[in-house]
Structure formats: structure tokens, C-alpha cells
Amino acid sequence: MSIDRRNFLKLAGLGTVGLAASPAIDLFASVKVPEVSKKSGKRWAMVIDLPKCHSEKDCTSCVDACHKTHNVPDFGNPKDEIKWIWKESFHGAFHDVGHEHLKEDILHGPSIVLCNHCDNPPCVKACPTQSTWKREEDGIVMMDWHRCIGCRYCVVACPYGARSFNWRDPRQAENMKDINLDYPTRMRGVVEKCTFCEELLAKGKLPSCVDACKAGALTFGDLNDSHSKVRELLENNFTIRRRPGLGTQPQIYYIV
């Protein structure tokens, strides 16, 4: 079979278009919201029942327990504040969800917020030393403070403000005189955040905030276990997450 010049050029052109199209198709195919991993093993998650939480007025047990357990310093000023779990205004936590005629107690009551242990964590992508990473076996977004170089890329990357930088030596804080001897402190120049109490989970205990909650508003469990308490709550209640449009897939769910 002979081929003339005109047909040869046509075929070559078609081939080039085909080669160029394949990566372009891949690119469009990859722009989708990732699904919650269904890999073997656990997927820790938390359900926070805001009405139950509000039933205990001015309660700070979860925050106090967490910060005591993990030697989180308190310098008494917002500039140096270190937060693992804290109270946020509803607007601060869910500014893209609420509206001004929302139920009064939800709108004006505090929302308990912490690291969302996202399934698609932006902080992990930002970290240049892999000192923060997502554990494949249980989904916890962990931190290795030994490796943190204090670049604060993760602080910028986290859309939830869940990461705090130690501007000062945490041991100089007033509340560190009453230190928890079983847990280390951090040092100046290191970023820290909630670790879902992985050190307690390893001993088969519940996270300290869940353990401390008097109202029973915090429920912790395994999303991959269809009989777990978190799955039961998620199936029987309408729940929301913080800034779902970002595609980070937060694993802290809120009953409002």
C-alpha cells in the first residue's frame, strides 16, 4: 500500500493531537473531590453535637483536659496563643453555612473546633520535611515535632486555623509549672496541633477531650466500622462539616 504526501501529513497530525490529548484528559479527570478512603484499617472521626454541647453553659472541660494532657502553653495573649481544641463563634467556624435567622443558640453559642484530620489534608502537601503526614492505617494527620523546621507553610495551608506556631519557648508559660510529666512539651520554632490523642489511642483509651466532656457531646470512633457510635450518629442525624467546598474532606462532623 502506497501513501502519498498529503495522507502522510494528515495521519501525522492526527497522531500528534492524540498524544497531546492524553495528559489533558488525565488532568481534567483528576479534578474531582476525593472520596473518603475505604482502605483496610480504621478511619478515626469525631461527631460533635452542638446542642448537647450548649447544654453545659460556659463549660471548658474539653479544652482544659486537652491542653493539660498535652502541655499546651498559655501565654494569656492571642498573639502567642497555642490551640489544639478551642471555642469558635458559629460564624467563625461555619461562615459559609449559616445565616442570620438561624436557631438562636446555635448562631450565638460557641462551636468546638479542632484539627479536622482531613482525608485530603492541605497541610501535608505544604510540608517540605514531611513532619506532618496522614497515617494510612487510621487517617490521623500526625505531626513529628522532631522534624518540624518551623517554616509555617502548614499554618498558611490549613483553612481551619488548626495549627499554631510556638513564637516563644512554651516552657516559659505560666501554666507549664503544673506540667503533665507523661507528655513532652514542644520547643520554640515548632508548629503544633491536635493529634487525636494518638498516644492515648495506642493504649486503647479515648481522646482526652471526649473523655472530659460532661455533656457527652463529643463522640469518637471508627468510620470504617459500620456498627460504631459515630456511624450510628451520622446515619440518624443531619450533620455538617466545616468548609466542605474546599474538598479537604474534614473528619469532624457537627450535629446542629
Binding site: R135, E137, D144, H146, I179, L181, Y183, T185, M187, A202
Partner: protein, 126 residues
């Protein structure tokens, strides 16, 4: 060869200057004091004594890596005994005083490990 005398004097002065740390140490007697370590409380270590003397830093790095990154918290000693991989809760159980144990050699050798800027020595907080 009229400079012979000057050269010899120069060489002697040079050697004396180069070896001045030795003479200073001999004069002040600091180098003759070998570090004295406090006897541990327990009777067995997580590894044998010779290994720990030379390689405890490697062991601690390995523990750090295993616990933080792989979630493996158990150390099995050569005699089969199991230990929690923890600096504060395992090492310091037998060697409670950082000052009388760790610091002895570290100061002698002039090394400054930064373990303690985060890890807690319970004795210092009592």
C-alpha cells in the same frame, strides 16, 4: 647555616603553642577527671552496657522513628523483656537524674543533644 639556632627556637615555640591545650589541661587537672555515672536503679538495660555506651544515640533515634512515624511502641530487649519505647518513661525510670547520668559524658565530650528542650526530666519539675 647561621640561622640554625633561631630555627630550633622557633620550632620549639611552635610545638609549645600547638600543644597548649594539653599543658593547660594538665595544669588545671580537668582532663584527668573521668565522668562518673550514677548507678542505675534497675538491674537490666534495654540493651547491654557496651552497646548503650557506644550507640545509645542510634537506639534513641530508632525509637523516635518507630514510635512517631510507624506507631511501633514496643522494644524487645535481647533477654526477651518488653519495654515501652520512651525516653522519659523508660530510660529515666532507671536513670532519673539527667545531671548525674546523661550530662556527665555529654559535658565531658562537649556534646549538646537537644532531647531535653521538649522531653521532660520529671526530677526537674518536682
Amino acid at each position: 647555616m647561621s640561622d640554625k639556632r633561631n630555627i630550633i627556637i622557633g620550632v620549639i615555640i611552635f610545638i609549645l603553642l600547638m600543644t597548649i591545650p594539653i599543658w593547660l589541661n594538665l595544669a588545671t587537672g580537668t582532663s584527668t577527671e573521668r565522668p562518673e555515672l550514677e548507678k542505675p536503679k534497675g538491674d537490666a538495660c534495654v540493651m547491654d552496657k557496651e552497646y548503650m555506651t557506644s550507640y545509645h544515640m542510634d537506639l534513641l533515634n530508632e525509637w523516635r522513628e518507630e514510635v512517631v512515624r510507624n506507631g511501633e511502641r514496643e522494644h524487645i530487649a535481647p533477654d526477651g523483656k518488653k519495654y515501652d519505647r520512651s525516653l522519659t518513661n523508660t530510660c529515666l525510670d532507671c536513670h532519673p537524674s539527667k545531671e548525674k547520668f546523661c550530662d556527665q559524658c555529654h559535658n565531658y565530650l562537649g556534646v549538646k543533644p537537644y532531647c531535653w528542650s521538649c522531653h521532660i526530666v520529671p526530677e526537674e519539675f518536682k
